[in-house]
Amino acid sequence: MSDKKGRFGIHGGQYIPETLMNAVIELEREYNHYKEDKAFNEELKDLLNNYAGRPSLLYHAKKMSEDLGGAKIYLKREDLNHTGSHKINNVLGQALLAKKMGKTRLIAETGAGQHGVATATAAALMGMECVVFMGEEDTKRQALNVYRMKLLGADVVPVKTGTATLKDAVSEAMREWTTRISDTHYCLGSVMGPHPFPTMVRDFQSVISKEIKEEILNIEGRLPDAVVACVGGGSNAIGTFYNFIEDKGVRLIGCEAAGRGVETFETAATITTGSLGIFHGMKSYFCQDEYGQIAPVYSISAGLDYPGVGPEHANLHDTGRAEYVPITDDEAVNAFEYLSRTEGIIPAIESAHAIAYAIKEAPKMGKDQIMVVTVSGRGDKDCAAIARYRGEEIYE
């Protein structure tokens, strides 16, 4: 899907300081080597299966399907992975690669904390040092994950600049990487940033759609009509889409965080409201003003609260292969509660954006149609914030 320079249509590229160029060139070379290396792949598969708990279940949500009265709904249970989200798929791949490259230290950005926790976990497992950058605002919204990272031996650096959220955590991790390259790998958590990250992270996450395909063919003997996932940077979504891109009969639907609504300034729906730009190493769509100043974005979900989107998604939007829809805070919170009560599954507030789409759209589909929704993570981390949203103070 991407050529040598890491382009997806007009998107992607490597817009980074010269100081980092040799680091990303080396990373690309090593990744291209190890992705074909049998021993590396066996080691990674062993970690994914015997440490992270893959393959994850494809669960037929019978009650939800019946209640909505339309499409047959399956949930891809990435929430059941070790560390509680899809983030571990990518992190185990990158940490193993970093180790093979002789790196001894991992740095990462995190929004909701799920990628930070996954990186801290892999670092603990592989005996590597770990520093996680997290917007100060997010350290408050996701205090439990901050504690988990520290428990796992990572240093958590609260980022106070800008909007003190995910975007600023990415900027700070990039700054740190330019300061210390020789022993450090930047374990980027989404399908964004400079090449080779969007391609490499997508490859590591594509295990999600590889499994969905095998599982649904086993259970139903056919491909789904639609696959649905939430999109911030877009890693669980590209993982969910990737092996279906060539199957034109499968609709690919990405759910963006609309925050308080796409007609307000308090939104993070990049494809719906953004425009073409160049930031954080890539050409893609961004929420920005007419002068290219990056806009402060907002979503109840710290993991989707990002003003850009991965370049492969931008291209899937341009070509019309995938559809991107905005989901508001209210819709996501309702879905968070709905899935908990209907199926006994508490989804991450990020994943609840995809569930919300299913609640709206599944009833419009036929009973003979199949919709697969990826539950990218578990929602324990969000309980206190959702309680607050509903006006209830609870103590973690």
């Binding site: 320079k5 590229g13 490597q14 817009y15 980074i16 300081p17 010269e18 100081t19 980092l20 160029m21 040799n22 680091a23 600049t161 800008g162 975007k167 600023d168 900027s171 990039m174 700054r175 330019t178 300061t179 210390r180 390259i181 425009s275 073409l276 730009g277 160049i278 930031f279 954080h280 190493g281 961004f286 920005q288 007419e290 002068y291 290219g292 100043q293 990056i294």
Partner: protein, 255 residues
């Protein structure tokens, strides 16, 4: 080809960096005039960006102060047009690629030409991605300044061969900001660059004292100072220009 080479005809060049609109454009104007009067050979003008990923805390804050006042790229072009009437030394912009891309590279380059900007530094536009911008800049007589970092190694030859105006030699790893020590072997970097081009090399990142500037300029063609000047602006606000003038004089004399 711009006028940048003129900046290197008066001994070693001293190049101060000032963020436009920090704290306001009137102060920026006075600071630039003071800098020129006290020996600055080339002025680097920052167009503020919301998320300056190559900057340390000092210049990040200058960007925030300037943007808080609602300054835009159009305001800055208007400002430069006026400034050009009184400032003779070459001036280059330093900003981020999204600022130029969003404005439209064609429109940006022609405004540079019209207002008298000689070059542009885009720290997040490496050699591999410059194609989209380089030809447009060249057609308007604006030099796209190349950066070479301590990690560039095998890339130096390729970058130097296509470089224009001057080469910005990045003294250290990391982001902009004052450093107590610079340990990079700048001399070897410059030697390698000079094997591939005869355009001047100026060293920046981390320089604040006259001693550092002297040391860096002695192995290159000039010294670039940003954060140390921005600190003066942060401290003295609208009365900073005279202090900047004194500082520039001291630095130019040292090199």
């Amino acid at each position: 080809m711009s006028n940048i080479k003129e900046a290197f005809k008066n001994g070693k060049a001293f190049i101060p960096f000032i963020t436009c609109g920090d704290p306001d454009l009137e102060t920026t104007k006075k600071a630039v005039i003071e800098a020129e009067r006290n020996g600055a050979d080339l002025i680097e003008l920052g167009i503020p960006f919301s998320d300056p990923t190559a900057e340390g805390p000092v210049i990040q804050e200058a960007n925030i102060r300037a943007l808080k006042n609602g300054i835009t790229t159009d305001d800055i072009f208007e400002f430069v047009k006026e400034l050009r009437k009184v400032v003779k030394v070459p001036m280059v912009f330093m900003t981020y690629v999204n600022v130029v891309f969003s404005y439209g590279a064609e429109k940006f380059a022609s405004k540079c030409k019209e207002t008298g900007i000689d070059g542009i530094i885009l720290p997040d536009l490496p050699f591999e991605e410059k194609g989209e911008f380089a030809e447009i800049m060249k057609a308007n007589g604006v030099d796209l300044i190349s950066l070479i970092a301590p990690t560039s190694e095998d890339r130096i030859e390729m970058i130097a061969k296509e470089a224009e105006g001057f080469i910005y030699v990045v003294s250290s790893l990391g982001v902009t900001g004052v450093r107590s020590e610079i340990n990079t072997d700048i001399e070897s970097m410059v030697t390698l660059i000079r094997r591939n081009t005869d355009i001047p090399c100026a060293v920046g990142f981390g320089i604040s004292t006259p001693e550092q500037a002297k040391a860096m300029a002695s192995v290159s063609d000039g010294a670039i100072v940003g954060s140390a000047i921005i600190k003066i602006l942060a401290e003295y606000d609208t009365s900073a220009p005279q202090h900047i003038g004194k500082y520039v004089k001291k630095m130019k004399e040292a090199i």
